[in-house]
Amino acid sequence: MQTVLNLLEMEPIRFFISFGAILFLVLNLAAILTMAERKTAGYIQLRYGPNRVGPRGLLQPAADVFKLFTKENVSPGRADLWIFLGAPIAMFIPAAAVWMVIPFAPNAVVANLNIGILFFVAVTSIGALGVIMAGYGSHSTFSLLGALRGAAQMISYEVPLILSLLGVIMLTGSLSFVDVVNSQGPNFWGWYFLPQLPMALTFYIAGLAEVKRVPFDLPEGESEIVGGFMVEYSGMTWALIQASEFASMGLMASINVTLFFGGWQPPLEFLDLGNFNWIWFGLKTALIMFTFQWIRWSVPRLRMDQLMDLGWKILVPITLVWLFVTAGAMLVF
């Protein structure tokens, strides 16, 4: 038994196992989140949600995947097919690749990059590229409108997203996610959301906008431009875009947890589970994901100018001011 485990921990083997595990995690996360989304919506609106396929409707995502695999992939006649089909790939990469640098348990990380946070910021911005590719490649007016809105929104919210991480970096003195989690300590009062509360809130809101969730879902805007940048997608191409949207929502929740809520650290020291600390990570991430869904069914969509104002006139100044406060406080104490 021990030798088998040792073999699995040898280098290229460990990497490929972790790759498989992360792919498994991302796809299942997407499936489970679609289900959770519809169930949450159901219960918030006093109905059941999907409840036909399997016990309590739990097999609904599997049925959806089978259905979507057998659906025709319609693409508009004059679409630029390379861009059109490249968009799901460009959107899936950031949703999956950033999981590489997140520590799930003590030392359990695929690659402990010493520039982890920078890697996260850089790779997430590929997502904006995917939106523009999808919108422009479809050769459709609605798509183009959605893509332009998406581009404006995603570049605007990237600024507060990037700046809100500075406090955490200063307190840790490192860009590695592993160091960030280790420095937060095994008690909840050591986590960064307390000294960095404005930054944590900014990151939460900017993250919500970055993954295009309600109230920031203008690129999709069902009631005005129907599907926005993905209005022309169908079948499996559409499913891939949806999957990457949900996976990046899960990713954003887990980054929230890792940076501000202690990652895999237990809330109180005596609850430490050793290698099984990933349970804490999962619980906290699930809680944040639930708040994302809760917000979706409670808050109406913003108008475009309100959206830009919130980003540039409220969130960016907050992060700059709190940067001063953090720097000053670290100087004094």
């Binding site: 595990a21 057998t70 690659a111 910021v121 007016t141 404006a152 022309e232 940067l323």
Partner: protein, 129 residues
Amino acid sequence: MTLGLIQQQMAYTTLYLYVGIFMLLITGFVATVLVLARLLAPSRKSRTKDEIYETGESTVTDPWRPFPVRYYVFALLFLIFDVEAAFLYPWAVIYKSLGVYGFVEMVIFVVILGVGLAYAWKKGALKWV
């Protein structure tokens, strides 16, 4: 019993090679899914399916005509702040050892940018049209 797949000490080159391989594998996976879907799904061409969706109306204008991008000022601001972040990140990493010197440096740097942002705000560049 160890369940966690513990990362070993690795050389930088190996680490970044992994990042590259990871992205290639993901691209390969998505491309495979697309090809599989192409093979499994039916494909019957028709004129109607070639048309683009616009709530049932036929399209009047070509979406690829030149269009005004109203928010190029936002794009410029984004670029400025992104570069600012590229300067601030290394500064933030070693801030603990910089002391007062680092604080004053950063204040000057951020104030200049803050004045820029205030100027853009005053000029109405942050107004969505």
